[in-house]
Symmetry: C2
Subunit: 432 residues, 2 copies
C-alpha cells in the first residue's frame, strides 16, 4: 500500500474536518442516552467498544481498512462548542445545568485506541478498532467513527480490486462529478491513492492530500473550435505556424477528411502545452478524425523538438479502438523515423470491474484507466455494514443477543494476531 | 415538497460549503483548458451550458431536482485564494503571470443561471440548469456543479420513492453511519426532508438545516444494565420507585421471565425522559421480554401521570412483530383502562423499497420507518449520470457527436415549458 498523506495542506484538511465532524455529528440517540447515563451516574464506567464488519464487501475475500486518519483528527479535536450546547438545550430542555458542564468538558484525550492501520488487509468479525474509555463518551463517538471508516474502507477495498484487474500503476481516479457529495469525492481520491491508484483528476484533493493530479482536455474545449479564425491567436509556436505544419502532414498523408474544427482545437491546445500535448480523440470520430488529427499535431510538434504525450478515448469499443490507435500511432511514427509507439493511451467511460475483465480477455493497448462513477460510489456495493459494539462494561464481557443469529456479538475484548508462514506470507488472522 | 432550509445556522453551513467547495474543487482538465483558452484569447467568449441527465434513476418515471441551494452558495463565493494560485503555479509552471491575475479576478457575479428549483419534478434531456456566461468560467464550474447536483437529485428522488411506499409522514432518515462521508450524511438528511421525510437522526444536519431531529436509545445502553444495582441512582421518579412499581405489574401480569437487565435499563431511561419514554425492544427477545418490559414501565409511568411514546423494532419479522406488539400494547392498556393503542411503533433494520413493498403486502402496524443505508447511499442506483454540455458558443448552437448515439447532445439553448391540463394537473414538459 502506498500513500502516507504527507501532503502540504494537512492543517487545512484538519480544519475542514473539524468543521464538519464535531461532536454534534452524531445520532440524536447517542446524546439522549448520554443524558440518561449521566443522570444514572453510569457515564464514566470503564468500557470497551469494538468496530468491525460481519461480511466482506463485493463478495470478495478481503477488505482494506481506511479512515483511521480522519478518526484521529476527529478524536483529537473532539469538543462541544457553546453553540452546540445551546442547540442541545432546545432538544433536552429538562436537563440539569451540570449536564451541560459535563458535556462542555468532554474530550477524547484519555481514551485508548488500538487496532488496524490505514491500508491493512482486514477480515470479518475481527476488531478493526478497539477503544477503551468512559462508557458515554465511547457511545457518543460511535456514529462519527462509523461514518469515518465505513466509506474509506469500502473505497480502499474497491480501489484495490480495480488495480488487480487493470494492473499496477494504471488507474487514475476520475470520479469528482459523480461522487456522493464533495467529501465523498475527496475521500475517493485519497483512499484510491492508498489502494494503488496513481493519481486523481480532483485538484482540491491533490491540494489537500498531496496525491498527484492529472488531466488534460474535455469535449467542450474541442467542440468550441469550428473555423480557422478560432485559433488565430494560438497557432504560433517557437516562430512556426503549427497549423500550417500540421496541415502539410494532413495533405501528405491523405488524411483530408479529418474534422478541421478538431484540428484547430488540437493546434490551439498544443501551443499551450507543447511539452505535454495530449488529445481527447473521440469528439467526432476516433479513427477517422481524432487519432489522425492527434498525429498531425504530434508530427508538427516533433519537428520543433517536442514529444507528445498521448491520447484519451472516452467512448466506443475501448479494446478495438486502443489496438487500432496503437497501430496507427506506431506506423505513422515509423513512417517519419519517430517512435510514437510509447505514446500513452488513456481510456475512460464508465469503467467497472466487469469492463476491465472483458478488456483483459479481449486484449487492449490501454496504458491508463480513468475510473470514475464505479469506483467513487462503489456501485457494486455502495455501503459496508461496519458496526461498533460494546464488548466490555465495568470489566465484564457483554454480548448482544438478537432474533437474527448473525447480529449476535462475540463478548469480551479481543486482539488479532496475524499468522505468517516461514516465507513471511500471511496465512490467517487469529482472534484471541 | 416541504422543506425550505430555513434553519438557524445557514451562515455556518455557508462557511463549511465554502471551505470544501472552492474553485480548486474541480477536475484538473478544467484548469488546463482554461489556460489554453486564455492563451488563445477565447476564454471570455459568450456561451451557454446546460446541465441535464439522460436516463431516469431507479428505473422510475420521474426525478426530483436537488442541490440548487449548494450551487448558489458555491457560485456566490467563487474566488481563487492566493494559496490556490500558488498551488496551481506548480501544476502549470509555464503559464504567464497575467494568467494568474485573470484567475484571481474571476467571479460568478455576471453569469446568468436559469432552470429548475430544488424539489421540482424533472425528466431526461431537459435542461435542469442553463447557464450563460464567459466560456472558460462556465467550464471551470462544470465539475463542482455536477458534484453538487448529482447526489442531491438522486437522493431527493430516492426519498420520494420511500415515502410513496411507506405513506406520508412516516419516514425518518437514519443513515449517518453508512453514508458516503460526512457531507453525504448531511445532504441525505437535508434532501430526504425535502422529499417528504419527517426528520433525521443526524444532530448536526438538524443544527445546520433546521430539519427535525429524532432518536431515543440503542442496544449499547440496554446491554450495559445487568443487575439491580445498575439503576440505583436512576429508579426514583417524583418520589416513587419506578422499578418497584414496574415489578409489581410484572408479578401481577405473570411476565416473570422478562430480562431484568433490560427492565433496569428501561426504568433508568424512563427516569431521564418520563414525558417521552420510548424503548428499543429487541435486545433480548421482542415478544418474550422487550415489549413486556416496555409495557411494565409504561404502566408505572401512567400511574404517575406520564404517557409513554412507543417502541422501536430493529430486527426480526417486522410485519408480524409490529402486529403482535400492537396487540399486546392495546390489550395491556385496556386491562388497566388506558389507551396504549396509539403508542408509536418505529421500525428500522436495513429497510429498502422491496421490504417496504413486502410490508405493505403482508400488512403491518408500523407508524414510522427509520431508513438508513438504502436511502443515504441510494443502494438501488448509487449514481445519477448528470452531465453538463456546451450548447451555444459565440451565439452559435453546438452539439457533441459520439460513436455512442445516446451521447449525442441536442444543440442550442433550450427552455422547458410544463404543460398543465384544465384541472391544473401537469401533463408533460415541452422542450423549446
Amino acid at each position: 500500500m502506498q500513500g502516507k498523506f504527507e501532503g502540504t495542506n494537512i492543517a487545512r484538511e484538519d480544519k475542514i474536518i473539524q468543521d464538519w465532524i464535531n461532536p454534534l455529528f452524531t445520532d440524536m440517540y447517542q446524546i439522549k442516552m448520554t443524558y440518561a447515563e449521566w443522570k444514572a451516574k453510569r457515564h464514566d464506567e470503564e468500557s470497551t467498544f469494538e468496530l468491525f464488519f460481519r461480511k466482506l464487501p463485493f463478495k470478495g475475500n478481503y477488505a482494506v481498512f481506511g479512515g483511521l486518519d480522519e478518526c484521529f483528527k476527529f478524536l483529537e479535536n473532539f469538543e462541544f462548542k457553546d453553540e452546540h450546547i445551546e442547540y442541545l438545550k432546545l432538544e433536552i430542555p429538562q436537563a440539569e445545568p451540570e449536564f451541560w458542564v459535563y458535556l462542555k468538558n468532554l474530550n477524547c484525550k484519555n481514551i485508548v485506541l488500538s487496532g488496524m492501520k490505514d491500508g491493512e488487509f482486514v477480515f470479518p468479525d475481527e476488531p478493526l478498532l478497539s477503544i477503551k474509555g468512559p462508557f458515554s463518551l465511547l457511545q457518543l463517538i460511535e456514529s462519527p467513527l462509523l461514518n469515518l471508516t465505513n466509506f474509506p474502507t469500502l473505497l480502499s477495498t474497491n480501489a484495490t480490486r480495480f488495480v488487480l484487474w487493470a494492473g499496477a500503476s494504471r488507474c487514475v481516479e476520475f470520479g469528482l462529478r459523480r461522487a456522493q457529495g464533495p467529501n465523498g469525492a475527496i475521500v475517493a481520491s485519497k483512499y484510491s491513492y492508498m489502494g494503488g491508484f496513481i493519481g486523481t483528476s480532483n485538484v482540491y484533493a491533490s491540494f489537500l492530500t498531496g496525491c498527484p493530479c492529472l488531466g488534460t482536455v474535455a469535449h467542450s474545449f474541442i467542440m468550441s473550435y469550428e473555423k480557422e479564425d478560432d485559433c488565430k491567436d494560438s497557432r504560433m509556436l517557437d516562430g512556426k505556424d503549427l497549423l500550417v505544419e500540421a496541415t502539410k502532414y494532413r495533405t501528405e498523408l491523405g488524411w483530408t477528411s479529418t474534422n478541421m474544427g478538431e484540428l484547430y482545437a488540437f493546434v490551439s491546445f498544443a501551443t499551450g502545452y507543447p511539452k505535454a500535448f495530449s488529445a481527447l480523440v473521440d469528439s467526432y470520430s476516433t479513427m477517422n478524425s481524432g487519432i489522425k488529427n492527434y498525429l498531425l499535431v504530434a508530427l508538427a510538434l516533433k519537428d520543433l523538438g517536442y514529444e507528445s504525450t498521448g491520447i484519451r478515448l472516452d467512448s466506443g469499443d475501448l479494446s478495438q479502438l486502443s489496438k487500432d490507435c496503437r497501430k496507427i500511432m506506431t506506423e505513422t511514427g515509423n513512417k517519419y523515423g519517430h517512435d510514437f509507439s510509447k505514446h500513452v493511451i488513456v481510456a475512460s467511460n464508465d469503467i467497472n470491474e466487469n469492463s476491465l475483465k472483458a478488456l483483459k480477455e479481449n486484449g487492449h493497448e490501454i496504458d491508463v484507466f480513468g475510473i470514475g462513477t464505479n469506483l467513487v460510489t462503489c456501485q457494486a456495493q455502495p455501503a459496508l455494514g461496519m458496526v461498533y459494539k460494546v464488548v466490555e462494561f465495568q470489566g465484564t464481557p457483554r454480548m448482544k443477543f438478537s432474533e437474527e443469529v448473525e447480529k449476535i456479538t462475540i463478548p469480551g475484548s479481543k486482539s488479532v494476531v496475524r499468522i505468517f508462514d516461514e516465507a513471511m506470507k500471511p496465512q490467517f488472522d487469529l482472534l484471541c
